[in-house]
């Protein structure tokens, strides 16, 4: 599992994409900002981020087996519980409320949007229209990447992604293999969009994404 607690600032992509189809205050549409990393609804599992079932009332860092950041674990140890109020504060700007959280989402500034999203999180998806989870097929996640090829391909990434800083563009060094594959597949399959990343992921085969994931997991 992750050598670096999945610093998911890759979510810049979802931010640029904006709340797709959010007009009318549709919670499920707003939830598209979350789906590359979080699962909700029947059969949900921990993915890049922890599953979000029964979130309201859950202790922070309360899902067993998920490798939370120290910041989130400390909040849980101090007794912080996810309520409509704490979620509202967190989603406004996660890194303001919990510096060093591994959820690199920049936040949802509109209070009405947050209220709509939190209402959706409280009830979960309507099964009839459930498209709330982005899943990578197990055979794609299981692909073993060629490390040397991944190192070569990484040249396309390192022109923009610096090591050890998330200023403007997130660092991807040390990302866990599963997190890397999930995010790149989310770009490739259009679950999240960003002009550069959609183009870069679009040209990569599943094997190439696996190779890159193997390489970036191996570097600090």
């Amino acid at each position: 599992m992750p050598s670096r607690p999945i610093y998911l600032t890759l979510l810049t992509g979802t931010l640029l994409a904006g709340p797709v189809g959010a007009q009318g205050g549709d919670g499920q549409a707003l939830y598209r900002e979350c789906i590359a990393c979080h699962q909700i609804g029947p059969d949900s599992e921990n993915s890049v981020g922890p599953h979000l079932n029964d979130l309201i009332g859950r202790l922070a860092a309360g899902v067993e087996g998920y490798p939370y950041s120290k910041a989130m674990s400390a909040a849980g140890a101090a007794g912080m519980v996810w309520t409509k109020d704490t979620l509202d504060a967190f989603l406004t700007n996660p890194m303001d409320m919990l510096p060093h959280t591994s959820m690199g989402y920049r936040g949802m500034p509109d209070p009405q949007d947050r209220a709509t999203l939190i209402a959706f999180l409280a009830t979960g998806p309507d099964d009839a229209t459930a498209e709330a989870t982005f899943n990578v097929a197990p055979e794609i996640l299981a692909l073993q990447g060629d490390l040397a090829y991944g190192e070569y391909l990484s040249g396309d990434c390192t022109a923009c992604h610096a090591r050890g800083t998330d200023d403007g563009i997130p660092s991807i060094s040390g990302l866990s293999r599963d997190a890397f594959v999930t995010l790149m597949q989310a770009y490739k399959q259009g679950a999240v969009t960003h002009p550069v990343m959609t183009m870069m992921a679009g040209r990569l085969s599943n094997e190439e994404i696996a190779a890159l994931a193997a390489y970036f997991e191996s570097v600090d």
Partner: protein
Amino acid sequence: MTLNRRLFLGTSIAAAGGLAVPMVRAQGKPRVVVVGGGAGGATAARYIAKDSKGAIDVTLIEPSRTYYTCFFSNLYIGGLRDLQSIAHSYGTLASKFGINVVHDWVISVDRDAKTVSLASGGSLPYDRLILSPGIDFIEDSVPGWSVESQNAMPHAYKGGSQTELLKAQIEAMPQGGTFAMIAPPNPYRCPPGPYERVSMIAHKLKAENPTAKILILDPKEAFSKQALFVEGWQTHYPGMIERIGPDFGGGNVSVNPEEMTVDIDGDVQKVDVCNVIPAQKAGQIAEAAGLTDGNWAPVNPTDLSSSMDENIHVLGDAAAQGAMPKSGFAANSQAKVCANAVGGALTGSTVFPARFSNTCWSLIDTDDGVKVGASYEAGESEIVAIDSFISQTNETAEVREETYEESVGWYQAITEDMFGKA
């Protein structure tokens, strides 16, 4: 070249095995000499040294001890960055990567003997030579202007002292004065560069000299990101910027640096600052080495090797490679493909298929960034584009701010990719 990428991993060993026998010098390590320490040369030197883990002897020849990036130099002119923030040294390439950094000029290449001669008198042998000399200017492309008049009318199209000079001249302009830019014809370094520069100068003048005028004299019908720049100029700097294209004489311009006048198709105007960006060609050493055809050095798209000499590679602005723009990003991208191929040729390491990418960010005003980019691969005879994107007009302020912040992240990453992380 079209490769089925799914098959590629399975065939890479066979492909590598099919290469010519790797050169192994009886008397020691294979030698690579890299000429030019910019986005192409510094990156190529670092990747060859890094990937060969000491098996290849790498020498980088660059006259300047401090390298000022051309990219982001417009932000310095506009007052959004200081000069130190775009200055880089070669110390890490020497200390961490074992590269022999030589501050000198290469004055000639003996392709038969495979040596380069230095201005200081020495010469260096190579097994592979990589030229990344950037651009030089075509003489008399702007009648009346020559390199001798670059103090009166700076080009500021190579980073460093020229950039400082242009900034100082803009700061010394009289209130309500006129800044003129002679824009270059295609192809030239950094297609959106002149127009980002105009944006940054307008940003500065709006605060310091709001009645000043900017005049662009342009031989081109259209230019990079035109709709985005024009929209931004109307929004941020209404009435300040006038562009005269070829239909109105913008392509028939001469200058008089002593009188500080420009002659626009017979209409002589006095200006206070004149930024002359002449027509461009490959850095002089490419021509001196006999590698140019016309103004640029043609290369093979798979490894950036010269069409004239298989032991020499030409990177970046100087190369005629096909569809990629002449940009620092492109040079950095080409350098990695070249480094992989040179490593394979000299040590037998695996050579992977060429793939390239480019993104050019431009800043129109504070937090108003735009971008254009594309991905590329090696075609039959040249580099070809496979996909592209561009910022849209009418984007929200949030998107533009994110785009600018991205460019700041990119600057940090690409300069570390070139010079190493200290």
